[in-house]
């Protein structure tokens, strides 16, 4: 019937709109979480992948901008609140909100400095997750095979 097809179309439309949630499912929604990677692993991936490596590197560099912005914002707004207000909770809240605003501003600066709007950030993260997945499953497979007495080359 036509109405069934219509609802299928509606569902597809919303599935496309909410497709970004797949990223969270693949990263956070695993039945068995991946073993935790270190910065050295990420650096290895950045060196190995010519396309997504530099993107991931730029994404990691933008963290510094966000943290620096957070510090500057917190210091500024907290300082203003400390100077003009006598309420301690007001100073704390102002510092927190200044950190938030500063972090957003810093990340925006980084977004334009590294031209992050041109790249697929979630895609770059996913590429690393896939690479890490393959690497880890290869090691696990070697471990499991060795249990049965097989030596993989």
């Amino acid at each position: 019937m036509g109405i069934g097809e219509h609802f299928e179309g509606v569902k597809q439309h919303w599935a496309r709109n909410f497709a970004f949630l797949d990223y969270f499912k693949k990263v956070y929604g695993r039945d068995q979480p991946l073993p935790k990677w270190s910065d050295a692993d990420v650096e290895e991936f950045i060196a190995s992948d010519p396309v997504y490596g530099p993107q991931l590197k730029a994404l990691r560099e933008s963290r510094k901008f966000a943290l620096g912005g957070a510090l500057a914002g917190a210091a500024h707004l907290g300082g203003v609140a400390f100077k003009y207000s006598k309420s301690p909770h007001g100073v704390v809240l102002a510092t927190g909100f200044g950190a938030l605003t500063g972090a957003v501003l810093g990340s925006e600066v980084a977004e334009h400095w590294y031209e992050l709007y041109k790249m697929d950030k979630q895609g770059a993260n996913l590429r690393f997750i896939y690479w890490w997945e393959d690497k880890v499953s290869g090691v696990l497979m070697l471990c499991h095979l060795s249990e049965f007495g097989f030596w993989a080359v």
Partner: protein, 140 residues
Amino acid sequence: VLMILVLLCAGMDKYHSSTRFAPLRDAPFALRGAFGTSNSSFNNMDGLRHSSSIGQARSYTSSPLGALRQKMPPSGNRSLHTSRPLSTPVANRPLSPHLPLKKPQLSATFSISHRIFGAALGAAIISIPLATRFGVMFEV
């Protein structure tokens, strides 16, 4: 006439609004000097001002109307409220109980719970775009 006005206003309670200076009280702090220096309003400054603002007000004497010298108020240059750092309390004395005594009424309870709920809801709502924006950056 100016001296009488000075003494009158110095003797008045600082929350009293006199009709002469009422527009000055409503004006934002930055514009107080802009309303003319013809009256000795700088001597009748509120206790809420800091002593630094007296120096700021004095700079207006360089304006064309600056020939009129300001008269010192009887209290001198001290402002009525000095700003204290947060570390020293205003006075080391016990306060009279208010919260343990007042019976919690529906209006007051409703109001504060509304505020608390609103703050929590605001924090929850803003956490969604924040998590989305910064999660991508800080995850790998």
